[in-house]
C-alpha cells in the first residue's frame, strides 16, 4: 500500500525529469518538438502536484503521531 502511494510521487517526479532530459539531450527543444512554455507547464503542473501531495502526507503523519493537534 505504501509502495503504491509512493509510486504516484515517483511518477510525478520522474515524468517531468525524463521530459526535461529528452527535451535537452534528444533534440525536442533544439528541433522545436516541444516549446519552452510547454515544458514549463509540464514541470509546474507535476511540481505543484508533488508539493501538494507531500504537504498532505506530512500533515497526515504529524496528526497521526500527535505532534500537530
Amino acid at each position: 500500500m505504501i509502495m503504491l502511494r509512493n509510486l504516484w510521487l515517483v511518477v510525478l517526479i520522474a515524468f517531468p525529469a525524463l521530459a526535461t532530459w529528452r527535451w535537452r539531450e534528444d533534440g525536442m527543444w533544439i528541433n522545436g518538438e516541444m516549446p519552452t512554455h510547454g515544458l514549463a507547464q509540464v514541470i509546474s503542473g507535476c511540481g505543484l502536484a508533488v508539493a501538494l501531495y507531500s504537504l498532505v502526507r506530512i500533515i497526515d503523519r504529524r496528526r497521526r503521531n500527535g505532534t500537530d493537534k
Binding site: E33, M34, G38, Q41, C46, L55, I59
Partner: protein
C-alpha cells in the same frame, strides 16, 4: 484523529494536486509533436482541413495551368517576369551592396537589443543575436552587408562563412513574423555540413526598412537576393548555389529560382505558393504572393517550371515541402494535386521537381525531418 474540517481541506488539496498532475501530463501530450498531431487531427473542424481534398480543388486541372513547354518559352517568360518587376530584364543599376562588415563575436552589442517594442514587433538585428551562433561547429566568420535601393530603402544580409567550405552556398530566406535567427539551429546545421550561408529577412523585419506597397516590396526582396547572388558568384565563386525558404520566404525562394537560373536547388517549406484555385479561401495569403502583374507573367505552376529550367546542361531541382498538419496555413496534401503534372513538365525541360508532405508535427516550422530531407538532398546533388 481526523476532524471533518481537516477532511474537507485535505480532499480539496488532493483534488487541486490531482488537477495539477493532470495539467502537467496533459501539457506534455498537447505540446509534444507526435501527440499534438493526433490531437489536431481529432479536433479538426472538417475533413478537408487535413484529411481529404476539397471537391472544389479536385476540379483544378494543373495540365492546363502549365503554359511553359519549351526552353525558348521558359526564357521568354523569365524575361517577362523580370520586366513585370523592374521594367527591364536586368536589375536596376542603382541597386547596391555595401562592403561586407565582419560581425565581431567578442565586440560590443548594441544597447537597444533588449526587448524594446521595435525589437518585439520587427525582430532583432544580427548584432543582437550573435551569441546564438557562438559555438557553431565549423563557423569561421559572420559578415553583415547592407543592401540599398535609392533613395531610402535598405536591408541587411548576413553571410556565414564556414572554416571548411564544401564549395556550396545556401541562401536562407525567412518569412513573416520572425527573423532568420529563429532558425539559427538549422543555419548551424548547414554550416556544420560545410555550407556557406547567406541569410535574409523580409523587409520590415530584423532592422530591414518597412516595405513599400505591392511591386515595390517585391523589388526590395528580389533585388537583395539577386544582387547578393551576383556578389557571391563573383567573390566566392561557389560550385553550386541552393536556396531554402520558409513560409513567405518560400515564396521568395520560388520567385528567385524562377528569375535566376544560377540557383541549382531550391527548397520551399510551408510556402504560400498554392495556385489560387487550390488556396483555402479562408486563408489570406501574403500580399506579395498575390500581385496581379506577376501572376499574369507566370502563374505559380509556370513559376515552378522556371525554377527548374534555364541552366543548360546543369539540372536544376525544386523540392517543395508542406506541413500536412500546419497550424497556420498551406496545410493538407493539396500540393500533390499539381505535383505530378509539374514534375512531368519540368522533366521535359531537363529539370527535377518534387513535393513532399511532412507529417511529423502540427506547427508552422521547418521540422527536423524537413531539414534532414533538405540536407540529404543537397548532399546527393553535390556529389
Amino acid at each position: 484523529m481526523l476532524t471533518p474540517s481537516w477532511n474537507i481541506f485535505r480532499t480539496t488539496i488532493l483534488a487541486v494536486a490531482t488537477c495539477s498532475a493532470v495539467w502537467g501530463i496533459a501539457s506534455f501530450t498537447y505540446y509534444w509533436d507526435p501527440t499534438r498531431v493526433a490531437i489536431k487531427r481529432f479536433m479538426a473542424k472538417d475533413p478537408y482541413r487535413y484529411e481529404e481534398h476539397s471537391p472544389q480543388f479536385l476540379k483544378f486541372e494543373p495540365e492546363k495551368a502549365i503554359t511553359i513547354r519549351t526552353a525558348p518559352e521558359a526564357k521568354i517568360r523569365r524575361e517577362a517576369l523580370a520586366s513585370a518587376i523592374w521594367g527591364t530584364h536586368y536589375l536596376p543599376a542603382d541597386y547596391s551592396l555595401a562592403p561586407m562588415v565582419r560581425a565581431k563575436m567578442d565586440g560590443s552589442r548594441p544597447t537597444n537589443c533588449r526587448k524594446t517594442a521595435i525589437g518585439k514587433r520587427y525582430g532583432p538585428s544580427l548584432l543582437c543575436k550573435l551569441d546564438q551562433y557562438r559555438g557553431t561547429t565549423n563557423l569561421a566568420e559572420i559578415y553583415r552587408q547592407k543592401f540599398t535601393i535609392p533613395p531610402h530603402y535598405h536591408s541587411y544580409i548576413a553571410r556565414f562563412r564556414p572554416k571548411v567550405w564544401n564549395q556550396w552556398t545556401v541562401i536562407y530566406h525567412h518569412g513573416y513574423a520572425g527573423t532568420y535567427h529563429d532558425q539559427y539551429r538549422n543555419i548551424a546545421r548547414l554550416i556544420e555540413h560545410g555550407y556557406a550561408v547567406l541569410a535574409f529577412n523580409l523587409p520590415g523585419l530584423g532592422r530591414n526598412q518597412i516595405p513599400g506597397p505591392g511591386l515595390t516590396a517585391i523589388r526590395q526582396i528580389m533585388g537583395a537576393i539577386l544582387l547578393s547572388l551576383d556578389y557571391e558568384t563573383a567573390q566566392a565563386k561557389p560550385k553550386g548555389i541552393a536556396m531554402i525558404g520558409f513560409s513567405a520566404g518560400g515564396w521568395a525562394t520560388a520567385m528567385a529560382a524562377a528569375l535566376d537560373p544560377t540557383i541549382r536547388a531550391t527548397y520551399t517549406v510551408a510556402a504560400p505558393i498554392y495556385p489560387r484555385a487550390l488556396a483555402d479561401p479562408a486563408l489570406e495569403p501574403p500580399k506579395i504572393a498575390r500581385v496581379p502583374e506577376l501572376l499574369d507573367s507566370a502563374g505559380y505552376l509556370d513559376l515552378f517550371i522556371l525554377g527548374t529550367s534555364g541552366s543548360g546542361n546543369v539540372p536544376r531541382r525544386q523540392l517543395q515541402i508542406f506541413n500536412r498538419f500546419d497550424r497556420c496555413c498551406w496545410r493538407n496534401r493539396t500540393a500533390l494535386l499539381y505535383a505530378g503534372s509539374v514534375t512531368k513538365a519540368a522533366s521535359s525541360l531537363g529539370g527535377d521537381f518534387e513535393v513532399r508532405i511532412d507529417e511529423s508535427h502540427a506547427r508552422h516550422k521547418i521540422s527536423r525531418q524537413a531539414m534532414d530531407w533538405i540536407l540529404a538532398d543537397l548532399e546527393r546533388i553535390r556529389q
